[in-house]
């Protein structure tokens, strides 16, 4: 169920019988055909256990289930929308950035500390993401929101990418992240370059960066 890009801020999804689509509650802009929108009490997949996990992890963005036959247009808050197609790999993204995603994707939450130890936890605090993030795994598409367009930067062995934590949107693949701090005495006396924290992503995969340092 691929998403069609209508404008930089709107996507369209085809809904077929027997297929489900999850979207952020209230993100439907228009639809054609016979489509039903039901608030997803559990906020996605994994039943009650998944729901409790997300509640605990504070990754519970209200979702709705979209079913039926037709085309649905999604957009939210005038943010830019970027479509990511997964081919069996895992996407790591904040739940509030998810506009809509295929029901075929397995949804989970991940403790940031497990991907870089203590620094992963620090990273969560610095990026304002908290300590958990949402994972989507499998074959299908996800539409992710960003402030001001998205840049895709490939990560390869021996080619790590450094990202400003505030501009980080999402990443996929087998990637380790590490928060590197460049805090010297200059930052202490307020003469820093404004780039004191950098997120270093290494391994194999892709990182998505937004053209802005603002939150959604």
């Amino acid at each position: 169920m691929p998403f069609n890009i209508l404008t930089s801020r709107m996507v369209e999804a085809q809904v077929m019988p027997g297929q489900t689509l999850f979207s952020q509650r209230g993100a439907m802009l228009a639809y054609r055909g016979d489509v039903r929108f039901t608030p997803s009490i559990t906020g996605g997949q994994g039943g009650v256990r998944g729901m409790i996990g997300r509640r605990v992890a504070n990754e519970a963005t209200p979702l709705m289930t979209v079913e039926g036959q037709g085309t649905v247009m999604f957009g939210h808050g005038g943010h830019h929308v970027h479509v990511i197609d997964l081919v069996g790999d895992t996407l790591y993204v904040e739940s509030d950035r998810l506009l809509a995603f295929d029901g075929s994707l397995r949804q989970g939450t991940m403790f940031l500390g497990s991907q870089g130890g203590v620094m992963g936890m620090v990273r969560g605090q610095v990026t304002g993401q908290g300590l958990f993030t949402t994972t989507l795994e499998g074959h299908g598409s996800a539409a992710v929101m960003a402030h001001g367009g998205v840049l895709e930067l490939p990560i390869g062995p021996g080619r790590p990418v450094h990202v400003d934590p505030q501009a980080y949107v999402a990443h996929r693949g087998d990637v380790r992240n590490k928060l590197s701090t460049a805090i010297g005495w200059r930052e202490m006396v307020g003469r820093g370059s404004g780039e004191a924290f950098q997120l270093e992503l290494s391994g194999t995969g892709m990182v998505y960066v937004q053209a802005s340092e603002e939150k959604l």
Binding site: H80, H147, G148, G149, L151, L153, R159, P160, V161, H162, V163, D164, A167, A182, R186, R191, G192, S193, G194, E195, V207, V209, Q210, A211, S212, E213, E214
Partner: protein, 212 residues
Amino acid sequence: MAQFRLQGSRVLAVDLTGDSVKAKNGAMVAYEGEMTFKKRTGGGEGLRGMVTRRLTGEQMAVMEVKGHGTCYFADRASEINLVSLQGEKLYVESSNLLCTDSALRTGTSFTGLRGSAQGNGLFTTTVEGTGQAALVSAGTAVVLRVTPQTPLQVDPGAYIAHTGGLKQHFQAGVNFRALIGESGGESFQIRFEGDGLVYVQPSERNTIGGEV
């Protein structure tokens, strides 16, 4: 020479091979390779620059980015415009300047009354030399040519930058209508005369002139 490339319209990619660029403080969003970031004070070189900056208030927090690889810059999702300078001087509001080649000299210049209407002081930043600079604008900027036969009037809030030999003065269209609150809402303009280019953004900053 650093290579400036646009990735889409809102991200600037700069390829560095051991050389450096000056950029707005904190504007880096990602980089590949080895980079170092050092804070500098903008608006001129050396002690003289310091004094003029203190006096003019045209302060710009600048960092020097040096290294090997590609550095990506962006500023609050603003559109980015590349300007190639061949020895001429670019006048630009410091808030609209994102990144300049280190080969370019930056300074401040007195603009007269225009600044007071824009609410950003009487001074503006100048960039001079040969190399590339990147400007940010709210929306895609248009470049308007000014010739001796065709002067140009610009809303102070929409003005970003200009190059060439231009004389500018401030004109007020305030008449009795404005005073009794029946004005057209466009009471102040900057008039450019001479030969050069003016960069205008399709959006207006809040200026004192906008209140009248």
